[in-house]
């Protein structure tokens, strides 16, 4: 069973849930819930939690559910943060770096080409290095930043999960980085929206790979 956190101001939680339900079972997790027992995987979804006021993800990361997610992640449970969820995970220090306002200073909604890196952890082993995924981005603050020394270490440790294909970087992210994982590799955050790429009719179904990865990672973690 996969839980999708719902904050005030979340937008994509229902879409994430229906994406999950294409590959397994899921339910919404209210931001005040602190007991995640029975859940084998967590999605921190996209949207504008708390209006993205002050700084994207700055307020949401203090919600009771996020405390529980920290414990869940520390126990090795797989966590997928999408867009605002990625921002929340960075603010919560579950992932390195930060997401700054787009270089163009405008919101961008666009289908982009992602290239999967060879990265560690349950997600990495489920997604082939070099795979190209067509997935939409839609964000105001998606410019990934991390200090050089951190970047070098992440590169060395195989913790860059996805890059925008050459020429497809929509926001000025350093190193075209679109997604990263934590040391253990069980926490993945990315700006593009795989839940909006699960049906060719709405653009592409390349995003399903991530939900399959989450599902299998969840089974592994549960077992």
């Amino acid at each position: 069973m996969i839980g999708v956190i719902q904050f005030p101001g979340s937008c994509d939680e229902r879409d994430a849930l229906s994406a999950v339900e294409r590959v397994g079972e899921g339910r919404l997790v209210w931001h005040e819930e602190t007991d995640l027992t029975g859940l084998d995987g967590i999605i921190v979804p996209g949207g504008f939690s708390y209006g993205d006021y002050l700084r994207a993800g700055a307020i949401a990361r203090f919600s009771p559910a996020m405390e529980a997610v920290k414990r869940f992640a520390a126990g090795g449970g797989p966590v997928l943060g999408i867009c605002n969820g990625f921002q929340v995970l960075c603010e919560a220090a579950l992932l390195p770096g930060a997401l700054l306002p787009n270089e163009g200073l405008r919101f961008i909604c666009r289908q982009v080409e992602l290239v999967a890196e060879d990265f560690t952890g349950p997600f990495g082993s489920a997604i082939g290095a070099g795979d190209r995924l067509s997935i939409p981005v839609k964000h105001m603050s998606g410019r990934y930043f991390a200090p050089d020394e951190d970047l070098d270490r992440m590169e060395a440790e195989g913790r860059i999960a996805f890059r925008y294909a050459p020429g497809d970087n929509p926001n000025g992210s350093v190193g075209d980085i679109a997604g990263v994982v934590n040391e253990a590799g069980n926490v993945l955050g990315l700006m593009p929206h795989p839940e909006h790429a699960v049906d060719p009719l709405t653009g592409s179904d390349h995003g399903l790979a991530l939900f399959r990865a989450l599902a299998s990672a969840s089974q592994a973690a549960a077992a």
Binding site: D15, F48, F107, C109, L201, T202, G203
Partner: protein, 746 residues
């Protein structure tokens, strides 16, 4: 303004002396300050439709699919399986002219509330924008701000903005238009109306607290022209808070779904006064409101301020007293405010109390229903009322490059493709989240209408919004008709059958005979189009006095249409396949009158060719059937820039060339080669189909008695169109460069 100070406060508040007398008659006494403020707002053009109500009666509103018609916060049509689509378009022109970002943002917030006020979850937004030419710095500023504001609100609240339109014309330079349309999905049995019922029931305000936003706004917004520099008449800017609204939206939908509400109404123009007044009027009851119980954002607000405040993100509900605790608990769970501020009575009066002490008491009927309605005094203008400016030379140089020649059809094509009205609007729509909700099967620029999947009733809907003010200015009757036809054409191209129509009538000062004539003729044209298309009008909005010392805007009826189709998977896009044949279907009779080319040549004039809605409608029926049968690979209607631009747009979408010969058409229809290339008018759809399917298609047209001509095929990498010695030949890449050039001009 503190009510009642000056000599004749009613004049400052926009009421005429005779209207004021009427009020004293109705009350049998002089109104006090609170009452006067309330009357001045509800008797404003914006709330009372003083100059438009009589005309609106002409619009057909009946139809077997209509679930809710005009009179409710939004209209709704049945889409089967116990579900309905709610939709409405509304203007936020003046606030956007003052502060484009916040004006446009709060415009979206307002139309979203109208839709969830009837119990529908918003699933899409469309926007219709009008500015002066982008060569004007002010226009660029307004355009940028409005687009960013629409995106800010829609994106933050998680409703996709799936379509829209933008026109740049000099008459909008001093009076931009920002119209927003919202589409919602509801379970028919869970929908709710705004009529307040049940004396003893409680009136509950939900959402944001009340501040001094837009005090006196509504009447000043709609009953006075925005004079340059006249700050006193400017509304105070209101800040949109999409986060507050997203909580309010979820909270209201949960309250409804749990059956805790008797009735629901958004707070819009004229705030509590208008919402409570209309709820009481519709329910034939009275309401007592105690302003001391209204949660305030600012200290010591006067009673009249609380009653007319237009603070955003607020809703008003009637509930049974026994439900109060549950309602409050639900609001707290969503971190949204709530307070019982009054109750329903059987007095038929709207009474305002300040901590129990009565400070105002007016009969609801007087406030809501007794506002005098005015007859227009239409007079047809002698000629073209608007400026004519030659810009073709400039456009050609900009788009086609050095060697350009304003007489050469190839260079004209590039100039038209690069014209702000025709060029790709990607710069704007990429700032909108068009995918949230997982329903968007056709995004902006992938088809003529946006297509949304509705698995709940196992079909899809198509939505479009249109209204070319320039053509309406040439002939308000035909132009308004064309606005509805353009929507219907866009729907037909994705195989959708129209279910209902909403509209926003953006016009100048109706007290001026020429503007009155435009309004009168446009409403008639719109009504006749609806009758011919058999599409009921389920709602809309009117925005008058869009006029400054520089004159009125183009008369701009903006039409929004919703249609249904069985299967989104069958919908063709704009891109034909290499080797396809191209057919022109429908009674398209190109004319340069009112066209983009005529505009750029500074040759605009009164008059458009007449249109037979029935003949167009028959053609659209055929197109719809062909598209649904899956026999066409691409469909695109002929609109701005004529057939040449329509073909170029298809070539650009496909990234392949086309080879077209219009000589047969010129023979058939007459007119110059240039007219056939760039002439505009309704009733033309370009269909692409593979060889075999093309033959079949032409036969079906034949037997259906619909005009259809094969005009060429898809091949190579150039746009080649022969048209009686006026031949076009442009590399697709060059055409695309011109068509994508808008971003560089902002």
């Amino acid at each position: 303004m503190s009510a009642g100070v000056s000599e004749s406060p009613h004049r400052e508040l926009g009421l005429t002396d005779s209207e004021y007398e009427r009020i004293t008659e109705l009350l049998g006494r002089d109104p006090n300050g609170v009452e006067l403020a309330m009357f001045s707002l509800l008797w404003s053009e914006h709330c009372a439709y003083k100059h438009s109500r009589k005309l609106l009666g002409r619009l057909p509103t009946q139809g077997e699919r209509v679930v809710m018609g005009p009179g409710e916060n939004a209209g709704a049509v049945d889409i089967g399986n116990g579900h309905a689509i709610a939709f409405k378009v509304e203007s936020h022109n003046h606030p956007s002219a003052v502060e484009p970002f916040q004006g446009a943002a709060t415009g979206v917030g307002g139309i979203l509330r109208d839709v969830f006020a009837i119990g529908a979850r918003p699933i899409a937004v469309l926007d219709s924008l009008r500015f002066g030419e982008p060569t004007s710095e002010r226009s660029r500023y307004l355009f940028e701000g409005a687009v960013a504001g629409i995106g800010h609100y829609g994106n933050s609240i998680g409703v996709p903005t799936v379509g829209g339109e933008v026109y740049f014309e000099p008459p909008y330079e001093h009076n931009c238009l920002v119209n927003a349309m919202c589409v919602g999905l509801a379970r028919t049995d869970a929908m709710i109306r705004s009529a307040a019922t049940g004396p003893g029931n409680l009136l509950v305000i939900m959402g944001a607290s009340t501040g001094r936003d837009g005090i006196g706004g509504a009447s000043i917004l709609a009953s006075a022209e925005l004079e340059a520099g006249d700050d006193s008449k400017r509304p105070s800017v209101q800040i949109g808070d999409p986060f507050e609204e997203s909580k309010l939206l979820e909270c209201c939908l949960e309250l409804l779904q749990r059956g805790l509400l008797v009735s629901l109404q958004d707070l819009g123009a004229a705030g509590l006064t208008s919402s409570a007044g209309e709820m009481a009027s519709k329910g034939g009851v009275g309401i007592d409101i105690d302003v001391r119980r209204v949660p305030l954002r600012e200290e010591d607000m006067e009673p009249f301020e609380v009653m007319v405040s237009e603070s955003q993100e607020r809703m008003l509900a009637v509930i049974e007293p026994s439900r109060l605790d549950e309602v409050v608990a639900t609001c707290e769970r969503w971190q949204t405010g709530s307070a019982a501020i009054g109750e329903i009575t059987d007095t038929g009066h709207l009474r305002v109390l300040d901590d129990g002490v009565q400070v105002g008491d007016v009969p609801v009927s007087a406030l809501v229903d007794e506002c005098p309605l005015y007859d227009l005094e239409p007079a047809e203008p002698g000629g073209w009322m608007y400026p004519n400016v030659e810009t073709l030379g400039e456009q050609v140089a900009l788009s086609a490059g050095r060697s350009a020649d304003p007489a050469d059809p190839s260079d004209i094509l590039c100039a038209l493709l690069g014209a702000p009205n025709i060029a790709s609007k990607r710069w704007a729509f990429e700032q909108y989240d068009s995918v949230v909700g997982s329903r968007t099967a056709r995004r902006p620029e992938s088809a003529d209408a946006a297509v949304l999947m509705i698995p709940e009733s196992d079909r899809a809907i198509a939505v479009a919004i249109d209204g070319n003010g320039r053509r309406v200015a040439c002939d308000p009757y035909v132009g308004a008709m064309e606005a509805a036809l353009e929507c219907a054409q866009n729907l037909a191209c994705v195989g959708a059958e129209p279910l209902g129509l909403t509209n926003c009538l953006n016009f100048g000062n109706p007290e001026k005979p020429n503007v009155a004539w435009q309004l009168d003729r446009a409403v008639l044209g719109l009504a006749d189009a609806c009758l011919g298309l058999r599409v009921p009008v389920v709602g809309g909005n009117v925005s008058l006095y869009n006029e400054t010392e520089h004159g009125p805007i183009y008369p701009t009826p903006v039409v929004g249409m919703v249609g249904e189709l069985p299967d989104a998977a069958a919908v063709p896009g704009l891109a034909p396949n290499n080797g396809d044949r191209l057919m022109l279907v429908g009674p398209f009779a190109p004319s340069l009158a009112g066209s983009e080319l005529a505009k750029q040549r500074g040759e605009l004039d009164k008059g458009l060719a007449q249109v037979s809605v029935n003949v167009v409608n028959a053609a659209l029926g055929l197109v719809r059937d062909l598209v649904r049968a899956g026999s066409v690979s691409a469909a695109h209607d002929v609109s701005d820039g004529g057939l040449a631009c329509a073909l170029a747009e298809m070539a650009i979408a496909a990234g392949t060339g086309i080879d077209v010969d219009l000589d047969a058409l010129v023979e058939l229809r007459g007119g110059s080669g240039e007219t056939n290339l760039f002439g505009e008018g309704p009733g033309g759809i370009v269909l692409a189909a593979a060889e075999g399917a093309a033959k079949e298609l032409l036969e079906r047209a034949e037997s259906a008695g619909v005009e259809a001509v094969e005009i060429g095929g898809v091949t190579g990498d150039r746009i080649s169109i022969a048209a009686a010695e006026r031949d076009v030949s442009v590399a697709v890449a060059d055409a695309e460069r011109a068509w994508r050039s808008l971003a560089e001009r902002i």
